[in-house]
Amino acid sequence: MPRRKPQARLVGPTLPFLGLLLLALLAAVSSEAAETVTVDVGAIYASNEGTSIDPALGTIREKLRSMFNYTSYKMLDRKRRSLSVGETGEFELPGRRTMRATLLPAQGDKIRLSIQISEGARKLLTTTLGLRRGGMVLVGGPSHQAGVLILIISAE
């Protein structure tokens, strides 16, 4: 009578267990992802120095050109933070500025963010935004070098 190899005896019951473990892990990850919001902040330097537009801006390039009178747009920095309700994420911005974003409670697929942009002790902006997942808003105006900073804030 043929005997099963010890390896096969060990792996036989282990493989389904590993599969279940992976499924449980994926379920936990997707559940956590549903409860958190990823806030994406890109810092753009807009100026009239040159005519280049950073390809990293994607589909927003044409919209920037149609909305503002600057000839050059360069992405200086981009950061993402995953936030759960009540959690605050801090984003360092060019020019010793900081942005703090707090995820507020919201209904359905709405996202509510409390945003505060500071320059040292000066509060440049305090606002509360209501977005849909994948939504975007621009915050511009703070001077930077020979132009201005435009922040692209999106959440999903």
Binding site: K5, L18, V29, G58, I60, K79, V137
Partner: protein
């Protein structure tokens, strides 16, 4: 040479250990001593008889030895084949390993930075409140297909 020495030399001869120079002396003794000659004849006949007996027994057990050798050879071949063939675990272990790697990459991929271009799905944004301690703030809305803009005017510079 006396009979005692002759008996020892007879055994040495049967074993092939008798020096050539002693053979003549032994032969002389055997010629004159019938008892030692009989002992020599008996011992000399023992070797061929034992070889013949061993041969007969080997011939009798030949088929059994052949069968045993066949089994041994088959076992050796099976062992070699098992070593050459990848085991069940080696063939399939990459599936859970790859899945675990994918989950780990998903969990621990650095989320702090992203270089993929912006592709917003909507510009539908509600501004619930807006204020600034040090600047004038304007809310600019140029249409549904364009993002809403909050513009900070510092000291009338921008």
């Amino acid at each position: 040479m006396d009979c005692r020495a002759a008996r020892m030399n007879i055994e040495a001869k049967a074993d092939g250990l008798l020096p050539r120079e002693a053979e003549g002396e032994l032969a002389g003794h055997l010629a004159g001593c019938p008892a030692c000659a009989a002992e020599d004849a008996a011992i000399s006949a023992t070797g061929p008889a034992l070889r013949a007996l061993t041969g007969i027994r080997a011939v009798g057990k030949g088929p059994a030895l052949d069968a045993m050798w066949t089994r041994v050879r088959a076992g050796i071949e099976e062992g070699r084949a098992a070593r050459r063939r990848p085991s069940w675990i080696a063939r399939w272990v990459w599936i859970p390993a790859a899945a675990a790697l994918a989950v780990l990459a998903f969990l621990f991929y650095p989320a702090g930075t992203d270089r993929s271009p912006f592709h917003p799905s909507t510009f539908d944004v509600a501004v619930e409140d807006i204020e600034s301690d040090v600047a004038t703030v304007a809310l600019v809305d140029k249409g549904e297909d364009l993002p809403r803009v909050i513009w900070i005017i510092e000291d009338a510079k921008t």
